[in-house]
Amino acid sequence: MPKIQFSAAYWFILPAMLFFILLAIYPSAFVLFLSFFATGKGIAVSANHPSFANFLDVWKNVNFGKFMLQTFIYAGGATLLHALLGFIFALILNILPLNPVFTRTMRTVFLIPWAITPTVVAILFRILLSPQVGPISIYLKSIGSPIVFGPLGQPEWALLAVTLTNVWMFTPFYMLMILSAMQAIDPGIYEAAVVDGANGPQQIFFITIPMIKNTLLTLGMFDFVTTAGYFDLTWIMTQGGPVKSSEIISTWVYRTAFQSFEFGEASAIGMILFSISVIVSIIVLRAINKE
């Protein structure tokens, strides 16, 4: 680094930071304000006294526990499967001593689902899983099966179907991140282990996994937090239905804000989501820093 050059460094960063302050920090403060003060329909704000009425309304909602649980199943399930499948794909690509051009090509092919517009992924799986036009359903009918295949219309299956679609779409990203963490491990460590007689599985469990553990934890935290607030896929696939069986916090917030126009209550739900995100982040970051 050169000598400290306060002025130039700050001038260069200033435009971006002004943009953030105007459009991220101010709105965040504003949503906090709304969650306490906005009452009733629309964005009418009464600033008479701080009030927990919006939070109490959220708490008293009969579906509060159900939506929270569904969000945890969705985000937790997706996070675990992303990490597991992403790890397996990355390991396969990293471990097989094949032609590097071939391996790179395969990595690129695996990345494709992540590069597809989420809206199109949602549309694609709505068609694939449709009981009327879906190819799986058409195939089942053609062999005379009595099963009606349409998981998105069935309360028992809708949440699972959306979760697995999410897994299909985002696993490639985690594969890519895990792979780059694996490739950053010093090959000398493996060579030393081989000299000491370590076999393949021993190298995986005693070198690879410990060396990428922090990456996995940070990725998992980031994943859980962003998936819990992820809107596009669930909204386009099921709109939280049928009978709210796939409703998660993000679709609940959207419904409350933009269909019922209760911005105060919607902000309160959102703040609960954000608080959970912050708590999860702190727990994971502390676990990492402990070492």
Binding site: P2, I4, Q5, F6, A9, Y10, I13, P15, A16, F20, L23, A24, P27, S28, F30, V31, L34, I43, I92, N94, I95, P97, L98, F102, V109, F110, I112, P113, A115, I116, T117, T119, V120, I123, L124, I127, V133, G134, P135, W168, A181, Q183, P187, Y190, Q203, T218, L219, F222, T226, A228, G229, W235, I236, I249, S250, V253, L273, F274, S281, I288
Partner: protein
Amino acid sequence: MLIIRMPRWLKPLSYIGLTLLAIIYISPYLWMIMSSFRPSTEPFALGIFPHSWSLNNYARVLQDPELMSSFFNSFKVAATAATLALVLGVPAGYSFARFQFRGRDLLMSFLMVVPTFPGILLAITLFVMVVRFGMYDSHYPLIIANTLINLPFSIWNLRTVFEATSREIEESAMVEGCNRLQALIKVVLPIALPGLAATFAFVYILSWNEYLFATTFISTNEKRLITTTMASAIGQFNVDYATLIPAAILSTLPLILLFIFIQRYIIKGLAMGSTKG
């Protein structure tokens, strides 16, 4: 890289196995591409390949004024947002790459935290602001929102791009009388062009893909983006699959190819943004 010994006969098998696994993994999308070529009379017939190949569906998309205006709107919003993310991101990324200054680490961790703020909350606050400023149903708030959510990545990635460029050329330019800004524009940016283009392209892709803000801020059909137009098409009672499927391919395939082309320039920036604590 792990060190394992593989029996000779296993090698061809692992080539075949890996290829099959990859094809199966992306088969839903391959199915969609195939279906876009099926004649509109039998869009979902059995079989992997269409019985007869037809380009009629694509012709119908190109003749559909609503879809074409949606494509154009998406292009306009994504290109402007990507330009803004570059204009704001270049100086900031350069500063993080070259200078050591008070608050640097704090600002960088701030950039890491921004993406964990739930988009749906941002949608509410921006919506309230947009309505107050009379900008509802216009593309400006969409451009601003897309710039905002992608600016952290843009800064992260540009920082790694600038860190990879040599310091000496720019210092010699400064000896010859350029100031810092001129050196950045005249010397550094041309060298960093591939990285800049890749950052622009990735923000363009992410903005094109964006759905939440597009559905929140726009109400008129002519102003809709391609994501919202397609999402509302699948929600109709009678879905026109023969137009929807090729439209979906047209809006994704070019970007997938673009993504494949730029991926090596963005991996470092992505890894930094999401894994460094």
